[in-house]
Symmetry: C2
Subunit: 619 residues, 2 copies
C-alpha cells in the first residue's frame, strides 16, 4: 500500500491529534475490533502509520518517539520497512517489553507528571488492556493513566489517514453448506446455549470473525485470505442476533438465517444494541477476543456480571467433525496435486530449460495451478516464494520490484495454502535444484528430524502444545539450532489458516490447552540463517487416538495422522544423520505421497517428478 | 504415630469445635506456618486428624463428611491408611478439585444459606488462599464465606490433639561454616538488600525455613530429615531480625550473628513485631511461601503495599556457588560408596547366603553404612526400601510389622539419600537379584531410556522444566507408559532434599522458572504397575553450559552433568530396546562409576560387585 504522505508527516500529524486529547502516548495494535490476525485494508492502522507490513506487532507513538514492537519472524522485514529516521524497532523477547519500556523509560522520564497513555478500546482486547493495567500497577507506576477513546470518537490514526483510508468492505456473505460444514446452525446454536447455561450466562457476545462465520455456517471475503465478514453476534436464551448489513447476504444465506429466526442488525449498531441487551444480564465475553469497548458498554449497561472465559465456539470449532475431517483430507490431496505440478514445472524450468523465474513469477504459476483445483476459493495466505537469503525472512512475501530469481545454486522455500470449500490448506517445502552445500544439507536434515519427531509423537490425554514444542525442537537443540516461531498452529475448516485455541509453541498460552483428537495442527519446525538461507518443513496433522501396547492409568493416548502429501527434498537429506526409524518414516511417507496424489496428476512431467521423488532412499 | 483416640472420635470432636465457631467446613493443610513440605511432629495436624502419613495433601471436614485430597504418588498409601468408615479419598487430577467440590457439592447442597469455610491463616499460603477465594468468586458462589481463625486463637485440630500433641522442637541451631556454604552472611544480606531496592521494597519477610537457614548460614534439626529450625526473618534496609529463641543457638552461631548485628527475637513474637515494623513499609512477602496470618498483620499495620513475588533467596539458593557444587559432587561420591557397599551386601545375602532380609532390616543396613560416611549428619528423607508390589507405592516407607522380604524373585527399589555437611544426596536404583520377567525388563529399559533422554538433553537458555518433562517422558509415552509424579526437583546444599524454584514437571508452575547453570535437579522417571512392581531410576544432575556446534541467536545452550555414580541394573536391561547411542551412554556411565567410586570402597565384596556391575555391555 502506498500512502500519499511520508512516515514523518504521518507521525507528526498523529502527535498533533494526541495533543488535542492530552495524550502523551498512543498505542496502535495490529488487530481490528475482532482481534483478527489478518485484517481488512481499512483496519490496517498499524501498517499505515508505520509502513511495516508484517502481520504481528504494535506501534507506540509519543511526542518524542515512535516505536514498533514485533516478534522474531519479522525482525529482518521490519528493519527493511521502517523509516529508521522516524521509527525504532523493538524486538520482542530481546528488547524491553511494552510494559517495561513504559515504566523504565517513558514514565520514569518525567516522574512528577501523570502520563496519559491512549488507545482505542475497540482495538485492544479485554485481556491485553487488563494485563497492561495490572503490570503498570504492580510496577508501582501510579503516575501512568490508561485512557480509552470515547466510544464513537474517531480513531486518531483514521484521522491521519483521512480520505486515503480504504472503505469498510462489503463482500457478499454466502452459505457454507452443511455438506461441508457437517453440522446445522440449529445444532450449533443448541450447543452454544447449553454451554451458556452450564456457565451460568444468559448473553454471549461472539466477537471473533471466524467464530461468527462458524456459528451461522456463513462465509465472506472481507479480509483477504480469510473467508470471513465483519460482524458480531449476540446470543441470548431466546434470541440470535447477527450484526451484519442484510443487504450483503446472498439469498440462500438470508433464507438459512430466516429458518432459524436469526435477526440481522447493521454492523455499526453493535454498541447501541448491546447497551440495551446487556442490562441486568450475565454476560459472557471472551477476554482474549472481546474488545474493551464491548466490555465498557456491558459495564455501563449495567450487566450483572461478565464471565471472561474463552468463547465456547472456539473449542467447538477446533474439534472438526467427520465431514470436516474428510473435507480437509480431500482438500489436501488436491492441493498437493497443484503443488507437485508446480514443483515439477519449476525444476524443469531451472534444470532443463536453464530458466531463472523470479520468486514472483514462480508464485504466480503456483497460485494459478492452485486456483484450477476443484472447490478452490482463494489462497489461505500470501504465497511465500523465497530464494536463498530471502528464505531466512520467516514471513517473506516477494515484491516484483526487487525479488530474487530461482536457480540451481540456492535453497528455494515455498510456504503456501488454499481456501477450498471443503477445507483450508497450509504446506511448506524447501527444495534445491542443484547441489546443496554440506551446511544446507545438515541443517535441512536436522529440521526434518524435528518434523518427524513431532509427526511420530505419542502422548497421553492432557498433554499441551507447550510440551510437544520442546519435544519437536530437541533434535535441533542437540546441535545448538532453533527457530524463532512456534512449531504449529490450528487450521480452520474453510476458515482462518491460523486458529486456536490449541497451538504447539513455547508461548505460555500453549500450555493452557490440552491437545484433543479431531484437532488439526501444523508441524513446521525450521531453521533460518540470516543472510544465507532458510528451511521449513510443514505438514498439517490430524490428532487422533492411537493404540499403544500399554495404557497407563487407563488414559487415552493420542498421536498424529499427516494429511499433507508432498515429498521431502531428497537432495537436501544427509542420510548419515538419520536413524533407521527416521529413514523408514521418510520412505513410507513417500509411498503415501505417491499412492494418494499420483491419481490426481494430469501433467506428465508432474507424474514423473513425483515418481522420481518418491523412490525409496537407502543409506 | 499412634493416637489415643479413634479416627471417628477425632472427627467428632473437631466437628464440635467447628460448631462453636459456626464453621460449616474446616480445611486442614499438610503445611506448617512456613509452607514446609516436611513438618515437625507438632505440625502434623493433617496426619493426626486423618491418620494418612503421606507428605502431601489436605483434609476437609464438614458436619457430614471428612475428605482427604492427595496426589498420584499416594493413592495406594492413602487407601491403606484412611479409615474408610470416616474418610473419603479424593484423588487429585482424577476426582473433583477442592474448589469444584466446594461449589458443586458442599455449597450447592444448601443454596439458601451462607456456608462458612474455616481455616487457620498460619497454615495456608497467601497464594492458595487468594486462589481459593477467586475460584469461588468466579464460580459465582456468593454464599460461600472463607473464615480465617483470629490470630492467637488455638487451632481446632490442636484442641482435638490436646495433651497428646508433641511439643514445639527446640533443636540446637548451629553454624554452617563458610567452608561449605561458600558465601558469607554479609554477602548474602547485601545481595538480598540489593534485590529489595531493585523491587522497591524496604521490608522483606523470610518465611520458608530453608531460606532463613541459607541466609544466616545456620542449620538445625527441628524437622526430621531437613536441617532447618522453626524461625522467621525480617530484613529491612538497616535491620536483620531472626525470630528464634537465642537459647537454642550454639556459641559459634550466636557469635556469627553478633558479628553481623543480627538481632534474635523469640519465635512466637513474629506477629507482634511485624505489626510494628510493617507500618508504612513497602513489604515483600512471597505469596507462595508467606502465610495469610502474616499477610493480615501487614494489612492491619497498615503497610504501604505488599509485593508478592518469589522471595529473592529462593533464586539465590537454587544457584549453587562453586564451593557448594564441589561439596555436592564430593558428597555424592561418598554416598555412592555407601550405596554400592549396601547393594553388594544385599546381593550377597540373597544370592550367596540365601537369606531374605526384610525391607526394614535391609534399610537399616543401608542407613548404618551411610551414617559412617565422612561429614554425614542425617538421612535426607526416610529410606524407601521396597520389594515387588510395594515398589509400586511411590513414597512407600516400610513398616517393620508388615514389610516384605528381599528375594531373588522380585524387583527391589531403593530410594534414599543423606544430609552431609557438604551436600544433600538423593538417589534411586531398581535392582533384581534373580531372573526378571520380560515385562519387568521391558519396563525398566523404557524407564532407563527416559532417564538417558533427560541426562543427554541440550536446550537453550529460557527453557523451563515443563518442556523437559515432556521430552523425558516421550520414550515411555511411545508405548503408553507413564508415571504419576514429576520428573525432577531441585536439591538443597545441606538443606531440603526438595527445593525450588525449578522443577522438571508437568505442573504449570514448572513452566514459570527457566533452568539455569549451577542448579541441581533430579532425573527420576519411573513406571509403577499397581500390585506388581515399581521402577524408578534417579540421579542428581548439575545444569551447566555446553558447547554446541552452532549457537542459534547467540543464546547459551545448557545441558546436564550427572553427579550420582551408582551403576544401573544390567539384569533388567533389554539390550534390543536400546539405540547404539543409549548403549554407549550406559557403558560410559559405568566407566565413570568405576573410576570415581572404586577408590572409596573399603569392602572387598563391594569392590568386586562394582567391578562386575560396570563391565561393558554389548548387544
Amino acid at each position: 500500500m502506498s500512502s500519499s504522505i511520508s512516515a514523518e508527516q504521518k507521525v507528526t500529524l498523529l502527535r498533533k491529534y494526541m495533543k488535542d486529547l492530552q495524550l502523551d502516548a498512543f498505542i496502535i495494535p495490529s488487530e481490528d475490533a475482532h482481534q483478527s490476525e489478518y485484517v481488512a485494508n481499512c483496519d490496517q492502522r498499524r501498517q499505515f502509520i508505520s509502513d511495516f507490513t508484517g502481520s504481528a506487532g504494535f506501534a507506540v507513538v509519543t511526542q518524542q518517539e515512535a516505536l514498533l514492537w514485533t516478534d522474531g519472524r519479522y525482525f529482518l522485514q521490519a528493519e527493511k520497512e521502517l523509516d529508521s529516521k522516524v521509527w525504532k524497532l523493538m524486538r520482542m523477547l530481546e528488547d524491553k517489553s511494552l510494559e517495561d519500556w513504559l515504566v523504565d523509560c517513558f514514565i520514569a522520564e518525567s516522574p512528577q507528571t501523570v502520563r496519559n497513555i491512549g488507545m482505542d478500546g475497540r482495538f485492544i482486547s479485554v485481556a491485553s488492556f487488563k494485563r497492561l493495567e495490572k503490570t503498570l500497577q504492580d510496577k508501582g507506576s501510579s503516575n501512568a493513566s490508561l485512557v480509552l477513546l470515547t466510544i464513537g470518537e474517531e480513531n486518531l490514526v483514521d484521522k491521519v489517514w483521512g480520505k486515503d483510508k480504504p472503505p469498510i468492505p462489503k463482500s457478499l456473505v454466502f452459505l457454507h453448506s452443511e455438506e461441508y460444514a457437517g453440522e446445522s446452525v440449529k445444532s450449533k446454536l443448541a450447543r452454544v446455549r447449553e454451554s451458556m447455561a452450564k456457565n451460568h450466562c444468559n448473553l454471549l457476545i461472539v466477537s471473533a470473525l471466524d467464530e461468527v462465520a462458524w456459528l451461522f455456517n456463513l462465509r465472506g471475503s472481507d479480509v483477504e485470505y480469510n473467508p470471513v465478514f465483519l460482524s458480531y453476534a449476540i446470543i441470548t436464551d431466546t434470541q440470535s442476533l447477527l450484526f451484519v448489513d442484510a443487504s450483503r447476504l446472498e439469498k440462500e444465506a438470508q433464507q438459512s438465517l430466516n429458518e432459524q429466526n436469526i435477526q440481522t442488525i447493521p454492523y455499526e449498531n453493535i454498541f447501541q444494541v448491546l447497551q440495551e441487551k446487556a442490562k441486568g444480564c450475565k454476560v459472557w465475553l471472551d477476554k482474549n477476543k472481546g474488545n474493551m469497548a464491548l466490555y465498557q458498554v456491558c459495564q455501563n449497561a449495567p450487566c450483572e456480571k461478565i464471565v471472561e472465559k474463552p468463547c465456547p465456539i472456539s473449542w467447538f470449532k477446533a474439534l472438526k467433525n467427520e465431514r470436516e475431517v474428510q473435507g480437509a483430507k480431500d482438500a489436501h490431496i488436491r492441493d498437493a496435486a497443484a503443488l507437485i505440478t508446480y514443483f515439477a514445472w519449476l525444476e524443469h524450468q531451472v534444470v532443463v530449460e536453464k530458466q531463472k523465474p523470479t520468486e514472483c513469477e514462480a508464485a504466480d504459476v503456483l497460485d494459478s495451478l492452485r486456483s484450477k483445483q476443484n472447490l478452490f476459493v482463494s489462497l489461505s495466505f500470501p504465497t511465500i516464494s523465497s530464494v536463498g537469503s530471502n528464505a531466512a525472512i520467516i514471513h517473506y512475501r516477494p515484491n516484483p520490484k526487487d525479488c530474487k530469481r530461482v536457480d540451481n545454486q540456492h535453497i528455494y522455500l515455498c510456504d503456501s495454502g488454499g481456501q477450498y470449500r471443503d477445507g483450508t490448506t497450509d504446506v511448506t517445502r524447501t527444495l534445491h535444484f542443484g547441489i546443496p552445500s554440506q551446511r544446507e544439507k545438515e541443517c535441512y536434515t536436522r529440521v526434518l528430524k524435528s518434523h518427524i519427531q513431532m509427526d511420530t509423537a505419542i502422548f497421553p490425554k492432557g498433554t499441551s502444545g507447550l510440551a510437544l514444542d520442546c519435544l519437536t525442537r530437541a533434535p535441533l537443540w542437540k546441535v545448538g539450532l532453533d527457530y524463532r516461531h512456534g512449531t504449529g498452529h490450528g487450521v480452520g475448516s474453510f476458515l482462518n489458516v491460523h486458529e486456536g485455541p490449541q497451538s504447539i509453541s513455547f508461548r505460555p498460552s500453549a500450555s493452557e490447552v490440552a491437545l484433543e483428537p479431531n484437532m488439526l495442527v501444523t508441524d513446521e519446525p525450521g531453521y533460518y540463517e540470516d543472510g544465507a538461507f532458510g528451511i521449513r518443513i510443514e505438514n498439517v496433522l490430524l490428532i487422533k487416538s492411537v493404540e499403544t501396547p500399554n495404557q497407563f492409568g487407563g488414559k487415552p493416548y493420542y498421536g498424529f495422522e499427516h494429511i499433507t502429501f508432498v515429498p521431502m527434498e531428497s537432495r537436501l537429506i544427509d542420510l548419515n544423520l538419520l536413524t533407521d526409524e527416521e529413514l523408514t518414516w521418510i520412505n513410507r511417507y513417500h509411498e503415501e505421497c505417491w499412492s494418494k496424489v499420483s491419481p490426481y496428476l494430469k501433467d506428465e512431467k508432474a507424474f514423473k517428478w513425483l515418481q522420481e521423488r518418491t523412490r525409496p532412499l537407502n543409506k
